[in-house]
């Protein structure tokens, strides 16, 4: 019987190796796999290349990985200068390489990897500093930038509900980068608010089908992030 559930976050991340490339889902505090990232801090793998939208805030989660000096490269679109003190300190010391991408290009490069594409041409960024060094091709009279697929060794996701087959369902804005990252990594690990019996998630409400997911771990809502003040409705 297939059972992708694991008991703890530390067990879920135990095989992350030095030098690994890892995608982290999340946007703002919604859909961030904070407890998997904290388990990775304890696990110890280093020289990591991280792909996610932002640059972390404070000393928790990704901010903590920067604090610990564990990240060699960040691929992101939004650098939060005020809150990302740990990223900024490492970057300014020259310890972290930054690959800055338009947010849609970041999402689409991940999607391209998951869909088995060799890349794509987009007008976004043509003629700007972010297209420097990239191939330009004129299509329909408009310059386009060639972008390559972005894939990873691991993806850490956060979902609301999951089952032992790896099916996932997100609440509201938790979804963000999570479903697309689920398609683009060799090992996909999801932390969820609740593991439910197979069959309980209606087929049409499964946002990430289990085919993409390798491990599911149930966690309490992260006390570090904003807590619901009223009971959250399950989908």
């Amino acid at each position: 019987m297939i059972d992708k559930t694991v008991a703890t976050c530390s067990e879920a991340v135990k095989d992350v190796f030095d030098g690994a490339t890892i995608m982290f889902g999340g946007f703002g505090h919604a859909g961030v796999p904070g407890q998997l990232i904290e388990a990775l801090r304890k696990q110890g793998a280093t020289r990591l290349a991280i792909i996610q939208n932002g640059s972390g805030g404070g000393d928790y989660g990704v901010g903590g990985l920067f604090l610990d000096g564990r990240i060699r490269k960040l691929t992101a679109s939004f650098i939060n200068r005020a809150a990302s003190t740990n990223f900024r300190d490492r970057f300014m010391k020259g310890e972290v390489e930054l690959e800055l991408l338009p947010q849609g290009t970041l999402a689409e490069r991940i999607r391209a990897a998951g869909a088995g594409l060799g890349g794509f041409y987009t007008p976004t960024a043509a003629g700007t500093d972010l297209a420097k060094g990239k191939e330009i091709r004129v299509l329909d009279g408009r310059p386009h930038v060639f972008e390559t697929p972005l894939r990873a060794d691991f993806a850490f996701l956060k979902a609301h509900l999951g089952d032992r087959l790896g099916n996932l369902c997100y609440r509201y804005a938790m979804r963000n980068f999570n479903p697309v990252m689920a398609t683009a990594a060799k090992v996909v690990i999801a932390e969820v608010d609740k593991i439910v019996p197979v069959g309980e998630l209606p087929a049409e409400n499964i946002h990430t089908p289990g085919i993409f997911v390798d491990r599911v771990v149930q966690v309490e809502r992260d006390p570090h992030y904003f807590q619901p003040k009223k009971k959250a409705a399950s989908k």
Binding site: F27, F91, P102, Q103, G104, A107, M174, V180
Partner: protein, 229 residues
């Protein structure tokens, strides 16, 4: 007396047609929803995967999983939808979102937009700005007419790195409404109590005065908020 930040947002909101799908940037653009005329259906898009965004949450009633692209707790209107980042940016890059209301550091007379980095900035941040500027047909800039030092933000050529070339169609400021035409900038409206010559003096590129150039129709106060101060 010039338009307040809310005054600029009020003037932009009046120009959003029924049925428009609108993405709002941070700052002045985020004030626009309060000023959409009653009964006009427009849909607010948020990059992180929301369409049909409503008013900000009432404190104490926030849902932890409903946030906008500025990471503020917000609400969803009836008929709203949720989707992932790839689909959200397909809406933007595929020109399905009809209007982008966005801030700017500089706008050039040919519609070039600079809003993501200052010259020599060691740590620039782009977010969704380029996707919006390249993908959305109606890019409306909402900004103050001059910098804090009094220097024009509407210029002949941008000195900051571009977000996208030739993308801006209209510029809404505390002093004027300027349209980006095929042959340069056209002054459409002037803030109440201001003269055309004054606006031109504070603009770093030549303005052609529209034949029907008029005073902006913005009330001094709306729902208790000062629009002109």
């Amino acid at each position: 007396m010039t338009l307040t930040r809310d005054g600029i947002a009020y003037r932009v909101a009046r120009d959003l047609p029924e049925g428009s799908y609108v993405n709002l940037g941070v700052g002045i653009p985020s004030l626009v929803p309060s000023y959409v005329p009653k009964g006009r259906d427009i849909f607010i898009h948020s990059e992180n995967g929301l369409l049909g965004v409503g008013p900000m949450s009432v404190p104490g009633e926030e849902d932890p999983d409903i946030i906008n692209a500025s990471m503020q707790h917000t609400t969803l209107l009836p008929g709203a939808s949720i989707f992932d980042h790839a689909l959200s940016f397909a809406m933007i890059r595929g020109s399905h979102v009809t209007h982008s209301i966005i801030g700017a550091i500089e706008v050039a007379a040919n519609g070039d937009l600079a809003n993501w980095m200052m010259p020599g900035d060691a740590l620039p941040s782009v977010g969704g700005a380029m996707d919006l500027a390249f993908g959305v047909r109606n890019v409306f800039v909402a900004m103050t007419h001059v910098t804090g030092k009094g220097e024009p933000k509407i210029v002949t050529a941008c000195s900051c790195p571009l977000t996208a070339p030739r993308c801006v169609s209209r510029i809404y400021t505390d002093l004027a409404l300027v349209e980006v035409g095929a042959d340069g900038l056209v002054l459409r409206e002037v803030a109440p109590g201001h003269k055309v010559a004054e606006v031109q003096a504070l603009t770093g590129a030549p303005l052609r005065i529209a034949d029907d150039c008029r005073e902006m129709d913005v009330p001094p106060v709306y729902n208790g908020v000062k629009l002109i101060a």
